[in-house]
């Protein structure tokens, strides 16, 4: 059988796109990385740790801090990288937009993972647009091997053009594994540090000339990009049958596609016979290269997920092309889309079965379920935040009413109070996780005490950054590199900011939680209730035991299953059954049962 050359190499390793990014940075001699976890970018940092003997890597409390840490590292002369998801760039935008003015000393790379299809995010924003606003170049790999190579190249480009460089990925690239051929690390010597206030102190008199410098740099890059070896052009003389513009019938012609990143893979496999311009750098665009490519084909398609970023620029140069009128601005692309929209083929497969949906749900033994069951009983509304606990917005919990972005719960609750008065929020709380509180909730709480608020903040503290897969944070006592770390005391932080009513309550002490919630929402002062219990998925979590239904005591009222623990099931006759493998023994069902019909067997 014909085997592939690249996999025959004894060096080839199968690697997640994100792991390959970490590998590329390592090979480039990166010295410092700093990041806040965020799906689909998290595994870059988790893989960086493999190289901790040679690379300093850390979790920062948020993306802005992470960005500034690597800016400092770069200014001192070392290569540095930060890593975040698309919405993290919004948090880091302030330093990013200005460091674009200053430029770099050591190579400075920002790895960003976008999320077309919104698998695990609050929106579907396109980082290329942010990069254009910030005048930062963007390069875009299309598989794991390119993720390694392009990340490496990003450091070189950063130093050559004196600019931060964004390496942009998407969920499908970050979370796909492919073959990679690792190379050795080459650690360049630190760049000498030279004091240069005109370049590095962005006050108006310095920023004005730097603005021009950035524009000049982008022009130079755009020009050089025409011969950049990160782009790949393949011409085909073949004519293929494609759908006519009016949708009626097919015509034979030479077809060209401009694409990049993961969509390139769909074109490569799904449209043999087409000429392809695969852009390695998507910002700034190589105009001459594109004009030349367009002139050699009869019809030009722009195949890019999310916004018409390339398309609008290409059109602005007077080049006729087809893009978003047939390809969606939302979701992921596929070969099917090519078959349907370009080739006019009917894609046939069986009709899908109609089956009950399976949205995500809090795990068995999740302490958030316990906290929410009390809030639900008290008919509280929650201004929500980002984390596993956002699932408290949905049936059957239905406690959370709003969720915008990291840290927003506390400040949105405050805004409601200021708009409607303190009585209005007597049946409201803000709900936020421990990692999210330390990310950007702290500032919002400071705003509450400063501006005479009375709201109640519930911090669901499960001792980890849960949703992204259990990363440490400043409150867990362990660093990314696995070293013991100072533990930020969340209660003490709240008290130090002027919150006089701070409580730490076990998530399963339902009576105390209920009593405290009732008292605190009624109180005309800011209070913080820290609901504590470690995440049941943490490696060192040991279930206390197992719960089981005592059949002859069960009256089939269904009270125990109301918070929808996925380890429980109502049988046909109404009797509740508890899965002995899935049960984590939290005992919430037992506490809710009024008939002593649930037993608990300690381990």
């Amino acid at each position: 059988m014909n085997k592939l050359d690249k996999s025959n190499s004894s060096q080839a390793e199968i690697m997640l796109g994100n792991a390959a990014v970490a590998r590329g940075a390592y090979e480039a001699g990166v010295k410092v990385t700093s990041a806040y976890p965020g799906t689909p970018s998290t595994e870059v940092s988790e893989n960086m740790v493999k190289y901790k003997d040679e690379v300093y890597c850390e979790w920062a409390p948020n993306e802005k801090v992470a960005m500034e840490v690597v800016i400092g590292a770069s200014q001192s002369g070392a290569r540095a990288m930060t890593v975040m998801k698309h919405v993290g760039v919004n948090v880091a935008a302030d330093p990013l937009f200005t460091i674009a003015y200053s430029g770099v000393n050591g190579g400075l790379v920002l790895f960003v993972a976008d999320d077309p299809g919104i698998y695990s995010s609050q929106n579907e924003q396109d980082t290329r647009l942010v990069a254009r606003a910030g005048m930062v170049p963007v390069i875009e790999p299309s598989d794991s091997e390119e993720a390694r190579i392009f990340t490496k190249r990003a450091f070189e480009l950063s130093e050559k053009y004196d600019t931060p460089v964004i390496v942009r990925s998407t969920t499908r690239l970050s979370h796909s594994q492919g073959l990679v051929n690792p190379e050795p690390r080459v650690e360049p010597p630190n760049k000498p540090y030279v004091r240069d206030v005109a370049k590095n102190v962005m006050v108006p008199m310095n920023a004005r000339p730097r603005h021009l410098a950035v524009e000049e740099r982008m022009k130079r890059l755009a020009n050089d990009s025409n011969s950049l070896d990160l782009h790949k052009v393949t011409y085909s003389d073949e004519k293929i049958l494609v759908k006519n513009a009016d949708g009626a019938g097919l015509s034979e012609m030479k077809v060209g596609v401009i694409t990049s990143g993961i969509p390139y893979q769909y074109v490569r496999e799904g449209l043999p016979g087409a000429s392809i311009l695969k852009l390695g750098m998507v910002h700034p665009l190589p105009r001459r290269l594109i004009e030349e490519f367009a002139s050699k084909v009869d019809r030009l398609y722009i195949f890019e997920e999310l916004e018409p970023f390339v398309e609008e620029q290409v059109r602005s140069w007077g080049i006729d092309c087809i893009g978003k009128e047939i390809f969606s601005i939302r979701g992921e692309y596929s070969i099917q889309i090519i078959k349907k929209e370009i080739l006019g083929e009917k894609v046939e497969f069986d009709t899908p079965e109609v089956v009950p949906g399976r949205p995500p749900i809090l795990c068995p033994g999740c302490s958030h379920r316990s906290a929410y069951s009390v809030m639900k009983k008290l008919k509280l509304h929650a201004a929500g935040d980002i984390g596993c606990y956002t699932l408290g917005a949905f049936a059957p919990l239905n406690v959370m009413d709003t969720c915008v972005c990291m840290g927003s719960s506390i400040s949105t609750l405050h805004g409601m109070e200021k708009a409607q008065g303190r009585e209005y929020i007597k049946d409201w709380v803000a709900v936020i996780g421990d990692s999210t509180f330390l990310h950007t909730g702290v500032n919002s709480l400071m705003n509450m005490t400063y501006n005479d608020a009375t709201g109640t903040v519930v911090i669901l503290d499960n001792s980890t950054t849960g949703m992204t897969g259990h990363q440490h944070h400043p409150g867990t006592g362990v660093s990314l590199m696995g070293d013991p770390a100072y533990v930020i005391d969340i209660a003490a932080v709240c008290r130090s900011m002027g919150v006089n009513y701070v409580y730490e309550i076990d998530a399963y002490d339902l009576d105390l939680l209920e009593k405290t919630l009732k008292e605190e929402v009624a109180r005309d002062a800011v209070s913080v209730i820290i609901v504590k219990s470690p995440c049941a998925l943490l490696k060192d979590f040991v279930p206390k035991g197992k719960c089981a239904v005592i059949a002859d005591k069960c009256v089939k009222c269904g009270l125990c299953i109301e918070p929808a623990c996925p380890a429980m099931r109502k049988q046909k006759d109404g009797l509740i059954e508890i899965d002995q493998v899935a049960c984590n023994g939290c005992g919430l069902c037992k506490d809710l049962c009024k008939f002593d019909a649930i037993s608990f067997t300690p381990n």
Binding site: M1, N2, K3, L4, S7, N8, A12, I14, T39, P40, T42, Y119, S120, R172, H175, S176, Q177, G178, L179, I262, Q265, Y266, R268, E269, G270, E332, S334, I335, Q336, V347, E348, F349, D350, T351, P352, E353, V355, P356, G357, R358, P359, P360, I361, C363, C388, L391, A395, P396, M467, T468, G469, L537, I561, C565, P566, M568, R569, K570, V581, A582
Partner: protein
């Protein structure tokens, strides 16, 4: 060789990632180009999860699309039903015959369909096993993945020794023996 398309579906938290990594590993060992596409993040919290494994001489697309899967590995009955239309007409469904109620069933909004296995068998070739019970029989419910992999292995071209080798490379050291045992149990079906 024609690219082989494998799709693994299940419930977030069941460990479909480990299975897709073992499949990717064995295909690479055999010298193929491989792509494995995974799901991380929110869906892993008990949601419906899908991973894809494609291998062949040269693989571009990381996805397996509707009607294109040679093998559909379903870790749960309802998920088998949800994705059965991804199988080619002559594709094989490898089913872990287990029921996990989704939240929509727990809350009583929907009923869990009763006749899933019959419906699946009417559509495609189905090989199935209750891997969880088999794993519990071996003394550790968590090795049920390896039971399923054993069953999958019967339908792929790689040798038994290669499979055992890749399991040894992928699972934690103290779990190697029991995972091999679980694999052989599935392989013997």
């Amino acid at each position: 060789m024609q690219t082989k398309n494998i799709m693994i579906v299940g419930v977030g938290g069941q460990g479909t990632l480990l299975t897709s990594r073992i499949l990717g590993g064995i295909a690479q060992l055999a010298g193929y180009d491989v792509k494995v596409s995974e799901v991380h993040g929110m869906a892993q919290r008990g949601g419906s999860v899908v991973t894809y494994v494609r291998y062949g001489d040269s693989v571009a697309e990381p996805l397996v699309e509707e009607g294109q899967a040679d093998i559909l590995i379903a870790f749960e009955r309802l998920e088998a039903m949800r994705y059965i239309h991804f199988l080619k007409k002559d594709g094989i469904l490898v089913l872990n015959d287990q029921r996990i109620d989704p939240v929509t069933v727990i809350t009583g909004a929907f009923e869990y369909p009763e006749d899933i296995v019959e419906k699946l068998k009417a559509r495609r070739t189905v090989v199935s096993i209750d891997a969880q019970s088999a794993a519990i029989g071996l003394g550790n419910a968590r090795v049920f993945n390896s039971v399923i992999i054993g069953l999958v292995a019967k339908n792929l071209e790689f040798s038994k020794d290669d499979w055992l080798g890749i399991i040894e490379k992928t699972v934690p050291a103290k779990m190697i023996d029991i995972n091999k045992e679980a694999f052989l149990l599935g392989y013997a079906v």
